[in-house]
């Protein structure tokens, strides 16, 4: 997975692509932790191009959510595809995490709307 973060109004947008699975979850987690170490505190996990997530992928999302909750940061998961949404729902993540249907809605929820 090629994970290149972009910045918008002080929000770090992480566009996940393809598959977030046991094979690349560790790399994705490292990429997030690196950004956190750089002082980033507002994140949109943009899943527009993510086709598939497994429990190893959910682990990355949960680690990020816990870290940001502890540091009073913010995180919104946006644009979940069909399989990703179903896995979130099955896991109860749709009720414990902030979810947005679009990137715009995510920016609004995080308080950085245009």
């Amino acid at each position: 997975m090629n994970l290149v973060a972009t910045e918008w109004n002080g929000v770090t947008i992480l566009p996940f692509e393809g598959r977030l699975d046991g094979n690349n979850a560790t790399a994705a987690e490292q990429a997030f932790l690196q950004l956190l170490a750089e002082g980033k505190q507002s994140f949109i996990f943009d899943f527009s191009d993510l086709l598939y997530i497994s429990s190893a992928g959910l682990r990355v999302v949960l680690v990020a959510a816990k870290k940001l909750r502890a540091s009073k940061g913010k995180m919104v998961c946006a644009c979940l595809g069909e399989q990703v949404y179903d896995v979130f729902e099955m896991s109860g993540f749709t009720t414990i995490l902030e979810i947005a249907a679009t990137r715009e809605e995510a920016l609004e929820k995080i308080g950085a709307g245009a």
Binding site: D21, R59, L62, K66, M90, S91, G92
Partner: protein, 161 residues
């Protein structure tokens, strides 16, 4: 044989106990899905169930390390699949290992990291069976796809602008 008619495709996928083998597992499942006519979504669901089991074996099956084989056998028909996963690692019944229902009610702060993999397998697959015989962990699961899961939704998707 009747069995052959029920599952016209019969493929073996031999994996090593490494995470990067998930890529090959997925490619092979996509291949089978396209040969037998599953929807993209059915392939993803099957891929999830298989990944969770294989990841468990990779992580916990061989605590003393080394390269070992995980044998995945897929019996596939357009409307159903049977998956067998066998490994020679330490005896481990993944079905005894999950009480995920209790986790689901927890708030974010209290959620443990992990514990969902086998829960997904149970939710997605039917007729799940585990036994340890002949020095092997033998896991078997089946799935009967709903009728609309065995049609080709991609044809419809291709019709969009």
């Amino acid at each position: 044989m009747l069995k052959d008619r029920q599952y016209p495709i019969d493929r073996e996928i031999k994996l090593f106990n490494r995470m990067d083998e998930l890529e090959r597992l997925n490619e092979r499942l996509e291949e089978i899905g396209s040969d037998v006519g599953w929807t993209a979504r059915a392939v993803l669901d099957l891929s999830l169930a298989c990944e969770e089991l294989v990841v468990n074996i990779v992580n916990y099956g061989f605590p003393s390390g080394g390269e070992h084989c995980i044998d995945v056998t897929i019996h596939a028909s357009p409307s159903s699949v049977e998956v067998k996963i066998e490994d020679g690692g330490i005896p481990f019944n993944p079905l005894l290992d999950s009480d995920a229902d209790a986790l689901l009610a927890l708030e974010l702060e209290d959620r443990p990291i992990g514990g969902l993999g086998i829960f997904f397998v149970k939710r997605l697959m039917d007729d799940i069976h585990y036994e340890y015989t002949g020095g092997l962990n033998r896991f078997r699961m089946r799935k009967q796809f709903r009728p609309n899961e065995s049609h080709d939704e991609q044809l419809q998707a291709g019709g969009n602008e």
